[in-house]
Amino acid sequence: MTFQTHDARILEVKELTSREKLFTLRFVDPEINRKFKYKPGQFVVVDIRGFGEFPISLCSTPTREGYFQLCVRRVGRMTKHMHTLKEGDIVGIRGPYGNGFPMEKMEGSTLILVAGGLGMAPLRSVLWYALDSGKYEKIYLFYGTKAYEDILFRDEVIHLLKHGEDMNCHVKLAYEVESPSCIYLEKGYSPRVCKGVVTDLFRGESFDVENTYALICGPPVMYKFVIKELLDRKLSPGRIYMTLERRMRCGVGKCGHCIVGTSTSIKYVCKDGPVFTYWDALSTRGLI
């Protein structure tokens, strides 16, 4: 391994919201393209050469080959620059890194995907993987968003609202800011669309806790509430997976920024994670 990055060409740039863009990329070297295998929940490091690197989750699914996708929110220096890039531009990519979700282990089970805001990005990878493979009992997507305009992959989410049930995919959406579009959606899909926060979406749902896994990704404040909801329903901590974010420079457990825990439990979010179970969180202080 080196810290070299490989040329990847931007095939398409799609504006998802005013803050997020979806980049579809492919490695320039076909050999690298062929070798690039990843799991939902893993991430890559994007390299804007001469300016810096930043980690981004893969939001596409390995079941669809030949390209990969990154959903990038504009928050600072590098991501702002990323947003100025166009189709045909080249960026450097290294990875994939991290453990990813244990997709194989979960086969045959029900998956509850709980996404808040940008947390939709890595979970979209899981969602499409699960749908494509057809190896999962039932898929729930609970998605909490601020407003209609902030819904990531809006077309896809609405499409699944409409037709998901046919694919055993049960989509629910909670929004915080009222708008005509939301009310329109709510009218069409109530009670699956409602005003509130993501935990409200658990209302009225029951799962076979012996055969269910929950996968969570969202802003730091969200985890505690969602986990409480799941534990109340007696889901075992080992069946709760969450993907976490920390500052990281290397992505491979060297640069030390993502170290969490105390004297009894030190973990690197990049290589021991970013996907952790709730057991990990219980034994590693400061993980969530």
Partner: protein, 246 residues
């Protein structure tokens, strides 16, 4: 396309403008991306034009400075406050007293025909897009900033105290080993620990480390070493007026 650059000098020692010339061949590198539209220390050429990047050095110490500053702000898209005069006020801003009293002490009269003002940093008067302190700033820093802007990306910022660079260079710690008052622990890094390289303590020319400096503890440490309170207090405020409070 070439970016239009202007360098404006308010009241100061001229070092921040001069330091740009000290980039030598790197200055010519920058000219691959920038046209200089205003830089009175270096050129008689001047074109009143909207600038992509304006660099303002010096502090606001006269009405003329203030007018020039507003001109620069109103005619530029991206304004860089360059040097401690511009970002924190530097030494002239730490002179206490009202302007007319100061004038009287020095010129013998309270009259103020040239409309001098109490020195203040430019950040106090206009919004700045980027602030780069240092008396003078490290010239490679402005080079990196201008290259970044030329290539369309926000310039990076520093977030660590002088101590970090001091150690990276493996300079002997003068505070610990020689009991010399050194403001390194509470001063924003970026100078490559120039003072400690000379075996003397950091005098704080880059201003306080934002947010996380612990001046109270530094104060106690220096007091412990036998420096009197007034001395330490003055040392703290030399470059950044009263910003180091606790």
């Amino acid at each position: 396309m070439m970016l239009k650059l202007g360098v404006f000098e308010l009241t100061g020692c001229g070092g921040c403008a001069l330091n740009i010339l000290f980039l030598y061949e790197k200055l010519f590198d920058l000219l691959e991306f920038y046209e200089i539209k205003e830089f009175h220390m270096a050129s008689s050429f001047r074109e009143h034009d909207t600038l992509d990047v304006a660099i303002v050095t010096g502090s606001v110490s006269t009405q003329r400075d203030l007018n020039l500053l507003h001109y620069a702000r109103n005619h530029s898209n991206y304004l860089i406050a360059l040097g401690t005069c511009a970002t924190h006020g530097d030494v002239q801003a730490s002179v206490e007293g009202k302007i007319r009293d100061k004038l009287e002490k020095v010129y013998g009269t309270k009259a103020n025909p040239m409309r001098a003002l109490d020195s203040t940093p430019i950040v106090q008067h206009v919004a700045v897009d980027y602030a780069l302190p240092g008396c003078p700033y490290d010239k490679d820093e402005i080079y990196q900033v201008l290259i970044s802007l030329a290539k369309g990306i926000e310039p990076p910022t520093k977030d660590y105290p002088v101590c970090i660079e001091c150690k990276l260079n493996e300079y002997e710690c003068v505070l610990v080993k020689k009991e010399i008052p050194c403001l390194g622990p509470i001063t924003l890094g970026g100078c490559n620990a120039a003072c400690i390289k000379s075996g003397v303590g950091c005098i704080g020319c880059r201003g306080p480390l934002p947010k996380e400096a612990n001046p109270a503890s530094e104060f106690e440490i220096l007091k412990e070493l036998g420096y009197d309170e007034e001395y330490i207090r003055r040392k703290f405020k030399t470059f950044a007026r009263g910003e180091l409070r606790w």
